[in-house]
Amino acid sequence: MANLACDVLVIGGGATGVCAAYDLARRGLQVILADRNDLSTGTSGRFHGLLHSGGRYAVRDPESARECIAENRILRRIAPGIVEDTGGVFVAAPQDPPDYADQWVTACAAAGIETEEIAIPALRRREPALRPDLVRAFRVPDGSVDGFDLGHAFSRAAESYGARFLLYHRVTALAYTTDGMRATLNSADGTAVVVEARWVLNAGGPWAGEIAALAGHDLRVRWSRGVMIAMNIRWVNTVVNRLRPPDDGDIVVPVGTVSVIGTTSVAASSPDDNTIEPWEVSKMLDEGEALIAGFRTARALRAWSGVRPLYEPPGAAEEGADGRGLKRTFSVVRHGPGFTSVLGGKLTTARLMAEKAADDVCAGLGVDAPCTTAAEPLPAGTERRYHTLGHRLALLESGKMPGALICECEMITRPQLEEAIAAYDHVPALDDLRRDLRLGMGPCQGGFCAVRAAGILRQARDLPASEAVEALRVFVAERFKGGRPLLWGQHLRQFLLDEMIYRRILGLDACGDSRPAASLSLPPWATDETPIPAAAGQRVVVIGAGLAGLAAAVHAVQAGARVRVLAAGLGRLILTPGWFALGTFAAHPGVEAFRRWAAGQDLIRLAEGGRLPSLLGIPRTVDLAPEGLAAGAIDGATPVLIVGFAGWRDFDAALCSGMLAAAGVSCRAVSIDLPPRHEGWDLSPTELAHRFDDPAFRAEVAQRVRARLNGEARVGFPAVLGLHDPRVRAEMAAWIGVPVFEVPTLTPSVPGTRLYNTLKRWLLRQGAQVQVGHPVTRLIVEGDRVTGVAVASAGRETIFPGDAFILATGGLYGGGLLSDDRGHVWEPIAGLAVMAGDDRTAWFRDTLLDPAGHPVHTFGLRVDEALRPLNETGHPVCANLTVAGHALGGFSPLAGGYDEGLDLASAYAAVRAALQA
């Protein structure tokens, strides 16, 4: 047990605590600050991000308003680096009380808050997302402030005056002593520390009551929980407040790359109550819609809640259950000689709270040094970050942020990650790095960067591959928890994509790709063996350019039809590992037909699968694979060399080889430099594959690999061995002297791209038309037949006629189905009947990688036995319209292990049925 002594122990490393530590240290006291967690992990890390001008409080709570505007000005002066000067506006929507504006202007003037009315059109030139029907608008000096940055800046400033920080140290006991207090702290690793302090300052935020209770005091704290939602992009670049008496969801704050809407105010049962109720999410979206038309359809990225501590002085009157009525100023409470608590207030006023609390402490200790924190800027060098939105982009572009870009969304490079990792004396969790750098906080929520970061962590700390993979799993699970309340619309598509990456490309779900789906009772079309009828001259229109659509086009061309493929964009083909999970559909004639077709295509010839390594070297059971991937079948006998490219972010040879070794393969990894040493922007897998099409380039690589060979009988590369040239792998094998195989990379998948390119080229050669960027918006129906489809072309729509139509638009990922926050799932082209559950909270199971998959995977179109989609009354919509691929409801292809099987089989059956109609 260690013993420490100091003048003042500050409990709590939130905004108030760090400001107090800084203030007291500046006054010459010896300060220790303890937090049970990292800095800013309490309310200060779960707040809204607004540097208040005070306008919000002007009418109801003028004292708070005055404090806010004063502190707002001070903070901008002393710590400009943590404030983004966004400015703010108060806007009145048509439904807001019309007389409030004038009352508010007067109150602001009285509180010393400058306001300036601005015409709505002028406002909308700056903020085009705002609704045109807003009634009035006033500028105020709001700003945006980052709680983590504030924590870092003030703690470093305090340290520069000698303060010490004991993070991950929870105060578990407090006792008065003759000359102060004794605190017992328990550290994260279980050791206890005793701190003898002449005074203790309790800055425990919502936990202040619990802390006071440790010394036997009754500090009555009421908790008010608030939910905030970060929207994916900055819909506004100015803080936007509703001009009405404070209520739920009336502020949007641009914070870093996102815009945050908040908040609710709900009585909470404990300071740790971080629930987010679905109604709160809906409420935020409703309110957002009142400011920004279309807000509801925009993407919500993360939701969190924080708990406000509202001090209820003894004898305070009941002020309404939500606590919004309790005053938002702060209170300093002296419990006894040696013990003071400070609570309430706002992050904006943290410095002032610290000042008043420190005054009380100093008075108690007989120290008469005055507070100087408002007068001088923070010591030089204590603020590291700068708040302009484009900061990271500017550094990246100017070459001042070299190294591979690992988190693309938030722009974090490999050296930055390495530096952040090195700053820990233990192995950090990926979630720690998230808080340090915003890793995985952008739109993809870790789908791409998490695995890259896990590789860097492994290398930096020389971890066994399995530990790095475990860290990755934990991170994936945490990101899912954060995203889950918001999974509808585009963010749902994001998580479905991430899930495909985790399960199929990384192999994280440990259940193999192909499995007989025991529970799947096959519909008649899936076992029907009749061939596709001849279709000379018939015009077949295929909607969708994923595997199902393109395979359908091939079948139709082979039957003699004139084929046109229309697609909004490309399908999932290039988001897969490149191999085929067929499952139950393995023997379907559609699969057979596709294999025969593929046999004539050099670049993508298919072979029997086997147990193939995922990107992480986790064995997957695969039915069918392009020869390059199939050559990697795990046999346990031959020693394997896995090759990675130094600094290339999309494949980590050591992780792959480490996990393969764990699976019993004799395996080694090497990293070679790409010739010539690559200095530019990161290469995507397809760009790198393009380089391998150059014989000189691949010869050079082969030579470098050969030099590193040490008795291995096979060499595995990331799947980048040529994009167009089918000879690359064979040539490299000849040069290296042993067989060569490919292992999947992050997307874009080169094997998938080869397959798409081959399909498209073949179709064009046959005179078919393949047109992407052609979103079909409706069907033209005459009687019981579709006669054409309308495409949203530039300027107006274009009708494409046809005789038979295949709908292969994919499911919720592909865009064939859309969804919203109210749990509504619909088919956008023809309003077809959908199989889906309407309770959004039941769409997913609790963990993303649950082997059973998720109910949401089964959502899709309802069809009859001939794959004709049904309308709401259960009747086929049209005779000559059929459905293929992931648009079909009732299947669970990802977890069931038949992703490609479903596409190929249903494509064949759909063409057959549509041509017969």
Partner: protein, 433 residues
């Protein structure tokens, strides 16, 4: 912008839709050929999240985007990647100004017109290696760029003279036109100065089909300025064109053009890149047709004369990026399929590499040529000496890369109708007379 759809169709905001899937990265035509371009996802929706409206532009790698637009086409999520990039280029120009070279390249209209009287001299100059080398060194216009040859007369001049011969001065006002029998023809700058025969042929075909053609004195569509980031100038031209065209569009008189890229500017770019979302611009967009699209439409409604003479040929066809962006399929292929004996094959190439003025720039010429290689391979493998394509700069590029003769599909239509240049200059009858 009051309805929901609009918000997420507003170009910068479409970055909200990006799920990072990398489909655009996989199909980018430029990124494989240079280290200097980080790819469409990065400079598009990704960087967009970090760009602050009104603040100085901080990124410049987007300059390597050629604007081909394949990224926007392949995106299954509705992100207008290329449009975001083009706006980012405009922000660069706003912050750092425009280079003299790019300013000059954007002024196609002016040098086309001013150069006409000096055609022999200029054609000698652009064909002269030494001068081209000097131009590359001083002006950074690639010595290998496929500069066009001045025709020595302008389409507009020809048109005005021809109208004068027929006693017509000025263009008929929209109100005086019969919407069912009138079209407005938009010729564009390249037709005006370098390929007036394309315009003449288009007029002949339209008149052959019984239309009265109106050719208002329109300006450059603005595209070359737009793609060089000079939005101010582009908008200036765009507004003039919209003002001219709006009355015709409102009367339902089709606005037809043989330059697929100019037509895309009118149909889509004014709205989605230049952010002109006013009603007049929208009305014009809805009334604009690519020439072959218009013929296909006539066929659909039974108004196309399909009395085509046989043309026994097999020809490769390249669909320009700008045409693909129309979202109208491949109207040239659909219409040419009606000509007996004629077999068309679409070249599997995303882009020819020229991208307006991109391939003219010295530092981008090698990229531009690499992008066009699939066309070269196709033409060589098939032993073709002709290529059909709907836009001028693509035709010049393909001609320069492959040595093949290149022409607009309207030339085949005229041939199949048996229209001859002599008749085109001096029409046998007054349309509608």
């Amino acid at each position: 912008m009051s309805d929901l759809l609009h918000l997420l169709e507003n170009t910068p905001f479409t970055s909200d839709l990006c799920v990072k899937c990398n489909i655009c990265t996989a199909h980018c035509t430029v990124a494989p050929h240079t280290d200097l371009f980080p790819g469409p996802k990065h400079v598009g929706p990704q960087a967009q999240r970090m760009r602050q409206p009104g603040a100085p532009s901080v990124d410049h790698s987007v300059d390597y985007c050629s604007g081909c637009g394949i990224c926007t086409l392949v995106c299954p999520h509705g992100v207008r990647v290329m449009e975001i990039n083009t706006q980012a280029k405009a922000a660069m120009v706003e912050t750092h100004g425009i280079s003299l070279r790019n300013w000059f390249l954007g002024r196609n209209e002016v040098w086309g017109r001013l150069g006409t009287p000096f055609a022999p001299l200029l054609n000698f100059g652009t064909g002269n290696r030494v001068l081209r080398w000097a131009a590359e060194k001083t002006f950074r216009v690639s010595a290998r760029a496929p500069l066009p040859r001045w025709a020595g007369y302008t389409f507009r001049g020809w048109w005005v003279r021809r109208q004068a011969r027929r006693g017509i001065r000025g263009e008929k006002a929209a109100e005086a036109c019969d919407p069912a029998r009138t079209v407005v023809y938009f010729h564009g700058c390249a037709t005006n100065a370098y390929e007036p025969h394309v315009g003449r042929t288009a007029i002949a075909v339209l008149e052959h089909l019984g239309f009265e053609v109106i050719v208002p004195p329109l300006r450059c569509c603005g595209l070359p300025m737009q793609s060089n980031g000079d939005f101010k100038a582009a908008r200036h031209y765009a507004r003039e064109n919209v003002a001219w065209l709006e009355p015709y569009a409102r009367r339902g008189i089709p606005i037809v053009g043989t330059a697929a890229s100019c037509m895309m500017a009118l149909k889509g770019d004014y709205i989605h890149i230049l952010n002109m979302s006013d009603a007049a611009t929208q009305a014009v967009a809805a009334g604009v047709w690519d020439f072959m699209e218009f013929l296909r439409h006539l066929h659909t409604i039974g108004r196309l004369d399909t009395n085509f003479r046989r043309i026994d040929r097999r020809l490769p066809y390249h669909a320009p990026c700008q045409l693909k962006a129309h979202g109208i399929g491949r109207p040239a292929l659909d219409v040419l399929a009606l000509i007996p004996g004629l077999e068309m094959e679409e070249i599997d190439a995303d882009c020819c590499g020229i991208c307006g003025t991109y391939g003219f720039k010295a530092e981008k010429r090698a990229i531009s040529e690499a992008v066009g290689q699939p066309i070269v391979e196709h033409v060589r493998a098939g032993g073709h000496d002709q290529v059909v394509c709907d836009t001028e700069t693509c035709r010049w590029q393909i001609r320069s890369l492959t040595g093949a003769e290149t022409f607009h599909p309207v030339m085949l239509i005229a041939e199949a109708y048996g229209l001859r240049m002599a008749e085109i200059d001096d029409p046998p009858r007054q349309p509608g007379a």
